[in-house]
Symmetry: none
């Protein structure tokens, strides 16, 4: 757990707010809000400046370009969202403890990402939206996914497939179904229907059950 924390800490501090001037922090905050509300392309730098309480020129002193501003917000978010897969013990734990199962891993992952999403709804929205059009973000996503998420995830899934806990679908399919269901839940919960009266604990459990039974080896 402490190891995980350290890594997340590092990730979060990568471009840490500590080094930012107050004005810069205000700019980032305003930009995040507005990009999430209206989309990157429909948000003007003058609006951001106004909401941040800053002269428009000040934005460009810190970010050469409007796109720079977007990237400085969105690109690290991609890494952060994939953060659990950077933790050393994400995989190790699974292998070392013979009694641990896919359910335990899933439960940890979902709870962890649920909390993260809850704290970062606007950022999540921005990434989801702009990933469609921003080349540099797609590159970052591909890099993170293929170099960090996919290999770790594959190890784990293969492990449980060998243990017979998971149906013998192609590993990629298992991963797809798992991620799709988790992300689908988070998107529904926080972006599509944030005002629905969710019973989060139960809904999380049902989602875990759904995945587990969906992937369970069929006799």
């Amino acid at each position: 757990m402490s190891e995980d924390d350290i890594i997340q800490e590092m990730l979060l501090n990568e471009d840490n707010d500590d080094q930012l001037t107050p004005k810069q922090r205000k700019i980032l905050q305003a930009a995040v809000e507005m990009f999430a509300e209206k989309g990157y392309a429909s948000t003007s730098t003058s609006e951001i400046a106004k909401r941040a309480g800053v002269a428009e020129g000040t934005i460009f002193r810190h970010y050469k370009t409007k796109k720079d501003l977007l990237y400085s917000i969105a690109v690290p978010m991609i890494t952060k969202f994939a953060a659990p897969f950077f933790a050393q013990h994400f995989v190790k734990h699974v292998f070392n403890d013979q009694y641990s199962g896919y359910d335990e891993l899933l439960r940890k992952l979902i709870h962890n990402r649920f909390e993260f999403a809850k704290e970062n709804i606007p950022l999540l929205k921005i990434v989801l939206q702009e990933m469609a059009f921003q080349h540099e973000m797609q590159e970052k996503y591909k890099e993170i996914f293929s170099e960090n998420v996919l290999p770790r995830f594959r190890e784990v899934v293969d492990h449980f497939k060998e243990k017979g806990q998971i149906e013998d679908y192609p590993t990629e399919t298992v991963i797809r179904l798992t991620i799709t269901t988790i992300v689908g839940f988070l998107v529904t919960r926080f972006i599509i229907m944030p005002d629905y009266p969710w019973d989060d604990e139960q809904e999380i459990e049902r989602t875990i059950s759904f995945i587990l039974h969906g992937l369970e080896t069929q006799s």
Copy 2:
């Protein structure tokens, strides 16, 4: 089946291409392409005009506003994507045939929507993107969903829950998990990873199995 066809036909003809002048058709086609490529906000009417091979003014003769153009493309798409739920026998069939199961429904639904998505990738992309910001599209979506999709879907799910085929989750949860998994598959298949060497038939079957077992009553 014929009933279903009629309804879809109606849906498709709502703003049917038959009534369009060639220029108008060119405009729509160009707009769909560009909105999907670059996003609504980042596409200029002059670019659309150029690609459509018409004068800029011509666009505004047919669509009062750039947003009108978007809506005339995207709003019907929402209806079309929910089309199966408009079909009378979508539900009736389920009730009349005592031997039919959730799997059969799911299989039909997925195959049907898979084909539809395949034929309408750019439109799908546009709707997914702009739903986030366009109020009128959200309204249309909510209307369709709560008045047509949800009630029908609820009837069906309740029916199978009563028959004991589906675990006793809240109906909304079952619907959410089902839709999330289907849409997640389509998005992954056609938008996120269109170039992956998919074995569509098998992947569809696995997705169906995943949903079915995920929702299956646990002894």
Copy 3:
């Protein structure tokens, strides 16, 4: 003579004002005035628009870029200034008439360019100024000079050197001294001291004499 006229006519009509809308003509006129007065870099497009009595956007409908506007003004001017050297009989005349001398050629050239400069003072100023920084203009100048002016001039000078009318300086030197003196005169007359009470006819004659005696074969 008529031949010469035709060629000049062509040159002048190359991008002739006839094809321009009234607004476009106004824009060009305003741009020429302001570039000459304040320099290209210190003239804003909004000032040009104001003086032309046009919306700022209108400028960019006709000229993609502020620099385009400059080039569309200045580049043809380079050709026009070198126009006499495009005339077929500029050289032929010299060779065909055994009694003609360098003085006659010079006299024609100076008178002709004097009238031209007089009618195009602002354009002359713009070219002289911007030649220093605009790459594309330098290229055009080099092209015109090395492909049209220099070869013709060289033929003529060599001819008169052979006839013993001109001192045996390198041809390039003769050309340099001639052009330098003519251009120096025009620049002084029209740009540096336009308000001095010039006696143009006499000053032209003195300039011709100066060049002729300066280059005359020394016994």
Copy 4:
């Protein structure tokens, strides 16, 4: 000769580099380079600061205004370029030595200004460019020219006209032709065609001959 040196020394020391801090010297140097390369209006103070390796604010500590910076560079240059005419013996020498001719004076003048131009190409470029638009520079030029250059030059020319060495053109015309030819040579040599394989010694001699014969009394 020593007298001449003293005067030039004074001129050069007017705003002498000795009194400058290293930073200030760097700023001036950077400004000269960039103004010559891109022109005054197209050079930003931040670029100058960057090339000089100082903070933006530092420039404005030494020069109240960007224009101040330009003037502090260009205005003294005007004086320096006219420096020979400040020397007492420039004229005296001519009168005292009955055997000296216009050729000797010209030769000295050209050699002297040639060396000066060679050492100050960027400054020359700046003055030539900005003279067109900067009022204060024009004033300085007019002052220097009418108060120092013109009177001295006139004395000398009148002297040689009386001696019959120079054709009886108006004195202003003689001066114009002389200066035009010299400046034309320097501009061609150092600014328009600096890369041409010049034979400087010979070209200078030819230029002197050209002027002398051009002005020589015609029998």
